[in-house]
């Protein structure tokens, strides 16, 4: 059967609208990572913390799910082991455990956003939020650049291993600097070539852009957005001194 781009786009439509994903990242960053809100929000925070993992399972991102869970386990493990550790190790465990348990959930949500949103979907969502091109375009390039930076990083690490420059080697102090030099040049070069290519394809034209992707709010979006709004309302009321329960 002949290929149909329209059918394929319908099929690859994500579980959530990109705007819902963005709202979730924001709310998680505020309450779970930022630690805003008091006792009242504890229950809401627990539910929020489970969400990214649930979403990863729904979208069949097994690897990312496993990685996130593993990091959480390590985090809580460190906190549990902390009281039994001597001196400096105790302090280190507290620090690492604290950072991991606080940050992992939000990072997992961010990963979910990037892994399951195409550039076209993202631009489309930003346009519906009436964001100006000056914000949308650089942000959409980031989508593209993150995985690229990742693969450049791996290639540089291999090159270092090959040349015998390692952590703990004779010149350990300079390892980070050595990684950053090629990293920055290649990122700048790729960014420049990327822009040149995008410009020759009409990016930035003042005519209204169209998007072939399918986005829009469905039941799950409405429920989650309502949840986000609820958390924020409870928090604002709390700031004003109103307790609900």
């Amino acid at each position: 059967m002949a290929y149909s781009a329209e059918k394929a786009q319908e099929k690859r439509r994500g579980f959530l609208d990109p705007r819902t994903k963005l709202a979730l990242v924001l709310v998680l960053a505020l309450f779970v990572m930022g630690g805003l809100g008091g006792d009242q929000l504890k229950g809401i925070k627990t539910i929020l913390s489970v969400l990214p993992f649930l979403l990863l399972l729904i979208e069949r991102q097994w690897k990312r799910f496993a990685r996130g869970v593993a990091m959480l386990i390590v985090g809580y493990g460190l906190l549990l082991a902390m009281p039994y550790l001597p001196g400096i190790l105790n302090y280190l465990a507290l620090m690492c455990g604290g950072i991991l348990t606080r940050f992992v959930v939000t990072i997992v949500m961010g990963e979910y956003l990037i892994a399951t949103t195409s550039v076209s979907e993202f631009i489309s969502a930003m346009e519906r939020l009436h964001m100006p091109q000056a914000i949308t375009i650089p942000m959409s390039v980031m989508f593209r650049l993150f995985p690229t930076i990742g693969s450049e990083w791996r290639s540089i690490r291999r090159a270092m291993a090959m040349r015998g420059i390692r952590l703990g080697g004779a010149r350990a102090g300079q390892v980070l600097e050595y990684q950053l030099v090629p990293m920055m040049t290649s990122t700048v070069r790729i960014g420049e070539e990327l822009s040149a290519s995008a410009l020759t394809r009409g990016l930035g034209a003042p005519t209204g852009r169209t998007n072939i992707c399918r986005i829009g709010f469905r039941v799950a979006d409405v429920l989650l957005l309502a949840g986000c709004a609820f958390a924020i309302v409870v928090w604002i009321l709390e700031l004003c001194g109103v307790t609900l329960w």
């Binding site: 002949a2 290929y3 149909s4 781009a5 329209e6 394929a8 786009q9 690859r12 195409s118 550039v119 076209s120 959409s140 390039v141 989508f143 593209r144 995985p147 690229t148 693969s151 450049e152 290639s155 540089i156 291999r158 090159a159 270092m160 291993a161 090959m162 040349r163 015998g164 420059i165 004779a170 600097e177 050595y178 990684q179 030099v181 090629p182 040049t185 290649s186 070069r189 790729i190 070539e193 990327l194 822009s195 040149a196 290519s197 995008a198 410009l199 020759t200 394809r201 009409g202 990016l203 930035g204 034209a205 003042p206 005519t207 209204g208 852009r209 169209t210 998007n211 072939i212 992707c213």
Partner: protein, 471 residues
């Protein structure tokens, strides 16, 4: 129609010249609708600059001083906006890794049309049409990061096709492609020929399109030195091409060259139990039970797309932890860790393996610990490789060929006996390719064992003495 009238150009008139390219001087060139023109000549001759003038990247993205007129279908490119030129001209770039704006292939095909606000139904129809004409159903709805360089270049061509511009520019599109992928690229260009598109290609590797072109424009130092029509170009001999500093016009599969794997009397290097599989893959990409390679020779490693040539180099070099093979050399067995100290690999993207802030420091960190007279020794090596003049330069500011020589200098400094190279001449012109060949022969005469993964038949003819073709 594309017209360049008395065009001169220099990069960065207000800043210092950072791009390392020559300016153009007094170029006159007219390209008719439906014509296929090849721009060729040594590195820095100005062929890429001409393409950038036609697609408007000069002066809108790469600033500089333009003199003369550049007209595309009668409109002056430098005075209209880039998105207006985008409707007339589409460009396929050299680097498959950095020309995609989207992460998924289908989104990438739609990108140009989305930017100009075509209705969705129209875009779908155009994509379906291109997909069936190019036969790329298998590449649709995939992540760009899962594609090979050859597949990425197909997607780049397809996205230009979907946008539907009448004039197509190709800026060294084959530089990172192997032999098979180059043939596939040729098929796509043939498709455009049938559609009556105007095609302008800048290339070093001219063989794959030599019989397709209407005209060859040969440049040097920013000037057009020869223009050859269809009949004229076919009368050129190989020697005449070499004289002009051009690559061979004859397409030859590297696997057909057929040098021996080893001959009697060779000292040998043995690979045993080299198996390597990517995570999640069902079949190993490297699968060698017992292989004998000649020591002290230059062995070309050839083979089809995905035959695992680069992976084999990584395994030999000891970069793949899950490859448990043993290497026997000069009566000693080398496991993975030992091999890291025996082998040096010059990677395809040489920039990613140079870490320091000066050429001299780069060589110094490669010297074994406690070397006497470190500095003199390093300078001596750099002198041998014609890099002495660049001691204080930042390695990242060197040209591609110079970076490669610097990486080889580090290999020499490290004293490792086996040198591995991954596609060292992709994107190099004739002169630079011959320089690399001569350098390899020089290293061989010093007793280094050299393995080169390459799709460059000319390089194999120029310096390789043995060949291992992965079936």
């Amino acid at each position: 129609m594309v017209e360049l009238k008395d065009v001169s150009f220099c990069y960065g008139s207000d800043e210092r010249q950072e791009y390392g390219e020559n300016s153009l001087s007094d170029v006159n060139l007219t390209i008719q609708d439906g014509e296929f023109v090849l721009l060729t000549g040594p590195s820095g001759c100005g062929k890429t600059t001409i393409l950038r003038l036609i697609n408007g990247l000069i002066p809108h993205f790469y600033p500089g001083l333009v003199k003369g007129e550049i007209l595309v279908d009668g409109k002056a490119v430098d005075s209209q906006e880039l998105y207006e030129t985008a409707l007339q001209v589409g460009t396929v770039f050299q680097n498959p890794r950095s020309q995609f704006y989207n992460v998924d292939t289908t989104g990438e095909l739609a990108f140009g049309c989305e930017n100009r606000g075509l209705p969705e139904k129209d875009i779908y129809r155009r994509i379906d049409d291109t997909v069936s004409r190019f036969g790329i159903e298998k590449l649709m709805d995939r992540s760009i990061f899962q594609l090979s360089d050859g597949e990425k270049q197909k997607i780049a061509c397809a996205s230009v096709d979907v946008a539907g511009a009448q004039i197509i520019l190709l800026d060294e599109p084959s530089a990172n492609l192997d032999y098979d992928a180059t043939l596939a690229l040729r098929d796509l260009i043939l498709q455009w020929r049938r559609d009556g598109k105007t095609i302008i290609a800048a290339e070093h590797r001219i063989a794959y399109l030599w019989d397709l072109i209407d005209r060859a424009v040969i440049m040097r130092n920013g000037k057009i030195v020869w223009e050859l029509g269809k009949e004229e170009k076919d009368t050129l001999t190989q020697d005449a091409l070499t004289e002009m500093g051009l690559r061979s016009a004859i397409q030859e599969a590297p696997s057909d060259i057929g040098l021996p794997l080893f001959v009697e009397g060779d000292k040998l290097l043995r690979l045993k139990d080299f198996r390597f599989m990517y995570h999640g893959a069902k079949t190993p990409v490297v699968d060698i039970l017992d292989l004998t390679i000649s020591a002290g020779e230059i062995t070309a490693i050839t083979g089809a797309n995905g035959a695992g040539k680069t992976s084999l180099l990584s395994c030999i070099c000891g970069l793949e932890k899950r490859c448990k093979g043993m290497l026997e050399f000069e009566g000693r067995s080398y496991n993975r860790r030992d091999r890291q100290k025996l082998c040096f690999m010059v990677m395809q993207d040489t920039g990613n393996q140079l870490f320091t802030e000066s050429v001299l420091e780069e060589v110094l960190i490669s010297l074994p610990k406690n070397t006497e007279n470190e500095k003199e020794h390093a300078i001596e090596i750099l002198r041998k490789l014609d890099l002495e003049a660049f001691l204080d330069r930042h390695p990242q500011s060197l040209s591609g060929g110079q970076k490669q020589r610097l990486a080889i200098a580090c290999a020499l400094a490290s004293g490792r006996k086996v040198l591995l190279l991954d596609e060292p001449t992709s994107g190099l012109d004739y002169t630079h390719m011959m320089e690399t060949a001569d350098l390899l022969k020089h290293l061989q005469s010093m007793g280094t064992t050299i393995l080169v993964v390459t799709h460059d038949s000319e390089l194999i003819h120029a310096c390789c003495t043995r060949q291992y073709n992965i079936a």
